[in-house]
């Protein structure tokens, strides 16, 4: 029953997404621009700057762009829910016997799949147009990570949207949270001990997404042994679990 409901909601949302595929393209605009207009600059910098982590520019940038897709693509999905609240769709679905968990998970899985599809496009571009090299294992791991991150962020986004029920406050809060998270995760310039002042480095370690970027970079340069992999996976699993818990609770809470 629960799986069937999840599938039905997932399918509904997928059909709606595919009806306006332009949005998937618009979500890809930013990372593609970075790939073309920022990536080439990074090649020299990587080679000549002490303190940069090992690996080529593309092994450093591509994982970061994929994280960026997840971060921005999935954080704003709550807007869709706000629209469904406004049009009464949420209420309509909530009076059916459908599982409350399914009403959330169906949406979240659609978001995860959409993010993974965008990540695949960026990876293909980085491989074919630019000079990215990474193992199949690294690619698979990246896609799993991106999927989990998307689940995490989408759940939070839906929970936040349901709590706020306000189409103005929602983006304001998101932007306030996302900018520091983005900068402190060292997405464009890695925040290493060699590059950053101690306080900034320490601060960045508190950002869970830093650890997620770290596993991706480690796996892209073929380093599957480091602590980064363990720490990053634990952080990611913990975040996903917490986010799902919050999302489900908010969906089940009365008057949500």
């Amino acid at each position: 029953m629960f799986l069937r409901d999840t599938w039905l909601i997932f399918r509904r949302d997928m059909i709606l997404s595919l009806r306006n595929p332009a949005w998937i393209g618009i979500g890809l605009m930013q990372p593609v621009l970075y790939l073309f207009f920022f990536g080439p600059l990074l090649e020299r910098i990587t080679e000549s700057t002490p303190g940069f982590p090992p690996g080529t520019a593309w092994q450093i940038l591509t994982p970061a762009l994929i994280i960026q897709i997840a971060l921005f693509g999935s954080s704003f999905v709550g807007f869709g829910l706000l629209a469904d609240l406004r049009t009464g769709v949420v209420e309509r679905l909530r009076v059916t016997p459908a599982s409350r968990l399914a009403l959330l998970l169906g949406r979240v899985l659609r978001d995860a799949l959409q993010t993974i599809a965008q990540a695949v496009i960026i990876l293909v571009m980085a491989f074919t147009i630019f000079d990215l090299r990474a193992s199949a294992g690294a690619i698979a791991l990246t896609l799993v990570i991106v999927g989990l991150m998307s689940v995490t962020l989408a759940s939070c986004s839906y929970a936040l949207a349901l709590r706020l029920k306000n189409e103005e406050a929602f983006p304001a809060i998101l932007n306030t949270v996302l900018m520091p998270v983005l900068l402190l995760s060292g997405i464009f310039i890695p925040i290493t001990q060699g590059l950053a002042p101690a306080w900034l480095y320490e601060l960045s370690r508190w950002n869970p997404f830093t650890h997620v970027v770290d596993i991706e970079r480690a796996s892209f340069r073929g380093d599957f042994t480091t602590d980064a992999l363990l720490t990053g996976s634990l952080v990611l699993f913990a975040m996903t679990a917490l986010a799902l818990f919050w999302g489900v609770r908010t969906f089940q809470r009365e008057n949500a």
């Binding site: 509904r12 049009t87 769709v89 309509r92 009076v95 059916t96 016997p97 009365e254």
Partner: protein, 325 residues
């Protein structure tokens, strides 16, 4: 079909609590078409949302469609249809997709959900629209789709929240037909909220009047009107006969507010049609000829005015400001 006792709901927002519903008792029998009438903010929608499991009551109990509201919300959901105020369909979805999804969420198989969609489409004049996007439908079509979505699982009890709000007069009249058919042809129990007097009057077997979160009156539209203010009877006679005619009017059982003005005598009685025979016999016996005779039924607005001291329309305007979200 519905039994509620002491149903109440208090909203708390920014440290202030608002008692939206303060202890509602109601009973709706199977096959009834009941209207819940009151100004905006009176507690209609809140009561409806409680009865449909969307929000939990802060106090009170209810049995809806044979299931306990607090103990078995899933059972309640399976047994009822709910059509919310405003809309319920996704603008960018196709009509057919929405019907199928809704049916399947109620546990129907794919083929069954489609078949049901077609059947309801025919019943609610939506045939041939299955491939249209919801946002391209007219207001009336969209509302009928919302209702169709609430009927996919053939519920024995349907809640309609302000079903005809924001519709043009023609679409309203058309929708009334469909709502009547729901009960008359399909035996569905219908519980609807409205703040249109004519709607309650035209559709409902029985009306519950709610104000400030409490039910202040209940009865058939005719009984409510009779109970509260009575019909106004105006009879015109030759000027000389006015005092004698007024005397006869006073003797009509239960006649009140007898007054004269020019050649007319006016008075109120609970049932104007019954009083008329009495009056005419009296006038006839006294040899008084009538030049005109009129009976005005009171409107539900009169009822509301008598009950609360305010007209429904005024209440709407003053209360809209502190409606709990």
């Amino acid at each position: 079909m519905i039994t509620a006792r002491g149903l109440a709901r208090t909203f708390t927002a920014r440290g202030r609590s608002v008692e939206a519903v303060r202890g509602v008792d109601l009973d709706v029998a199977a096959g009834e078409l009941v209207g819940f009438l009151g100004p905006n903010g009176a507690g209609k929608t809140t009561t409806l949302r409680m009865l449909t499991t969307l929000i939990r009551p802060t106090a009170g109990t209810a049995t809806v469609a044979g299931h306990d509201l607090a103990g078995d919300p899933l059972g309640v959901r399976r047994g009822i249809g709910y059509v919310a105020q405003g809309a319920g369909a996704t603008p960018n979805a196709k009509v057919g997709e929405e019907m199928e999804l809704q049916g399947r969420l109620y546990g129907l198989g794919k083929a069954e959900a489609r078949r049901r969609g077609v059947e309801l489409g025919e019943r609610l004049d939506l045939s041939g629209l299955s491939d249209r996007l919801v946002k391209t439908l007219s207001g009336g079509q969209r509302r009928r789709l919302d209702i169709a979505l609430g009927l996919v699982h053939d519920p024995k009890l349907v809640f309609l929240d302000e079903p005809t709000a924001a519709l043009d007069p023609q679409s309203r009249a058309n929708l009334w037909e469909h709502i009547r058919a729901l009960r008359d042809t399909h035996g569905t129990t219908v519980f609807l909220t409205t703040h249109y007097l004519d709607e309650a009057d035209a559709l409902c077997d029985r009306i519950l009047v709610i104000d400030h979160g409490r039910i202040v009156a209940e009865g058939t539209p005719a009984a409510l009107k009779a109970q509260v203010s009575g019909d106004l009877v105006a009879v015109s006679v030759v000027a000389d006969d006015v005092p004698r005619a007024a005397e006869i009017a006073r003797r009509v059982p239960q006649a009140t507010e007898v007054s004269t003005e020019g050649d007319a005598v006016r008075f109120r009685v609970p049932r104007g049609d019954q009083a008329l025979a009495e009056l005419l016999r009296g006038l006839d016996a006294a040899g008084i000829a009538t030049t005109s005779l009129q009976v005005h039924s009171p409107t539900l607005d009169d009822v509301f005015l008598t009950l609360t001291g305010r007209s429904l329309r005024d209440a709407d305007q003053t209360e809209a400001e502190h409606v709990p979200a």
